[in-house]
Subunit: 323 residues, 2 copies
């Protein structure tokens, strides 16, 4: 229709009214925030992180570019990051005090306000997939522990042994943290927010939680409103010291400020991450995206693995604060 009007000279070609070349879509990704400093990274490490982030973003981009859903894009991104030993999620998850892994994940479909989450699962290779099955195939939002794994089996998922998650690096890290009496808090999380060509927002987060954690601790990642949230207007995935993100209901608070206080997404995210959390010493960061494709990635730590891609296909990846 628009093409016909253009051809007939009935529609102007003024930039403001022009038909966009490609429908807008957007993908923003994080791989955890923390004490990530240029001087502590070898060039090989730096490259490895950038390469995996790029690969993850490309997987999500491929979904969005061909008209796929933001849910599929978020799932695709997080699956790549869960399968990498570099990030604290899936394969690369940190170890608990008992030397095991306990994984948390959540996914939320902002358009339909549906969500799924799992907490404390030990034999699930891709917790984001299980979170999505909880959303799509159960009447519940959140399942935990053995029960969540029983549901996974009923859904035909293959469980993996704990040995799948064992990496030399995480074992050494746990020893180091135990020796330092938990002074160092290793955390990290992976997450993605996406807007698809149908204008639907989605958010997802996956994590191994805090290294050396005990007592079945659940962090903010699988908690809808804290580490993960999406509505029809706003999507957020968080990473950091989860307890602060739970108490401040960070992901929902950012979206509530946009909805009720008419703050811009950037104002809202900065206020929460750089003011409120900083005042409480709550380390971390967020990625946030609105339904116009605007996004922001504030963090109050030395670095955050992060990146984005839009319709032009230019994948941007950053790690340090000064990038």
């Amino acid at each position: 229709m628009k093409h016909w009007l253009l051809a007939a000279g009935l529609l102007s070609l003024a930039p403001a009214a022009s038909v966009p070349q490609r429908p807008p879509f957007m993908l923003v990704v994080h791989g955890g925030a923390g004490t990530i400093r240029r001087q502590d990274m070898t060039p090989a490490q730096d490259s490895a992180y950038r390469a995996t982030l790029t690969q993850a973003i490309r997987a999500g981009y491929d979904v969005l570019r061909r008209g796929g859903s933001s849910l599929d894009a978020v799932t695709a991104v997080i699956t790549v990051l869960e399968d990498s030993p570099l990030f604290n999620a899936g394969k690369g998850a940190v170890l608990t005090n008992a030397g095991t892994v306990e994984l948390d994940a959540a996914i939320m479909d902002g358009a339909a306000l549906r969500a799924g989450a799992v907490a404390g699962v030990k034999h699930i290779k891709n917790p984001i997939t299980l979170a999505r099955l909880v959303m799509e195939k159960s009447p519940h939002v959140m399942l935990a522990g053995d029960g969540a794994e029983a549901f996974a089996k009923e859904q035909g998922m293959t469980l993996v042994p704990q040995s799948y998650f064992y990496t030399e690096r995480r074992a050494r890290e746990l020893e180091r943290i135990k020796a330092a009496e938990a002074k160092q808090r290793a955390h990290g999380t992976v997450g993605a927010v996406a807007l698809d060509q149908q204008g639907r927002l989605a958010a997802g987060t996956s994590t191994g939680g805090t290294a050396n954690k005990r007592w079945g601790r659940i962090g903010d990642s699988p908690i809808v409103g804290a580490g993960t949230y999406a509505s029809d207007a706003c999507a957020v995935s968080a990473t950091g010291a989860g307890e602060y993100f739970i108490r401040n209901v960070v992901a929902h608070d950012i979206c509530a400020r946009v909805r009720y206080a008419r703050e811009s997404l950037e104002q809202a995210a900065r206020e929460v991450v750089l003011e409120e959390l900083v005042a409480q010493h709550g380390d971390g960061g967020v990625i946030a995206l609105d339904n116009d494709g605007h996004f922001t990635m504030p963090f109050n730590t030395e670095g955050m693995y992060r990146g984005s891609v839009g319709p032009d296909g230019q994948i941007v990846v950053k790690i340090y604060r000064d990038e």
Copy 2:
């Protein structure tokens, strides 16, 4: 100072400026919302519910009247309700599909923005006490399952066998629900919000979750922001079909509307419970209290066990919609 000014005739005695007789405090309690109809209750059942609610409210009132904290008041109220076989929490918890109990609870200190929560515990007589220990004695906000019970033991709590929770009534209910193929969703929760004489708000919620639940399902009660939330301005405890309360981040959304949209507490709570949840068929209700002692108790079901008390000591208890 005010007394001196009054004596010197420098301050008027107009009611608006008068010094209140007693510092304000307020306590609001619920015992679950659902299909609670006058015609389905015997006079003996009606009296038993009212008596236990009154006893619980009196326990909280005694704390607040003598200057105790809102946290202690919330804990006292919920402990009485957990110890009663009438309500779906503690002793009276509904049974899971496996015929066991799995209990969830959370407590939040609005003044300090601290919170504690437990999910899926099976041997804890008073989950609200364990939630409080998580808040006060652990670096975490939320603990689940066996890990949470290990923490309870380390804190010196005595674990009870599952047989403690067994009641003939819940066993029959589970059989009935299984026979009806889960058509009837029995839920229910207990909760309290309190404002103490120091102006500090607190909220707490405790539940057995949904009868016949499976797969380690976690409902909204232990999720900060969903079923339980308190800030320095607003405290909420919810009851109902938990999945809807999680997706809508109900407790935090009510407080966010008050904070950012300048809605009154009543407007905010009614909008969320009577408009947004109703549109989604999300059954339930909330109790909400602000730091002026204003409270509201909207629900979209046929009844909600509920009550309140203020400085005058008049305990009000209601069950049905037409009260």
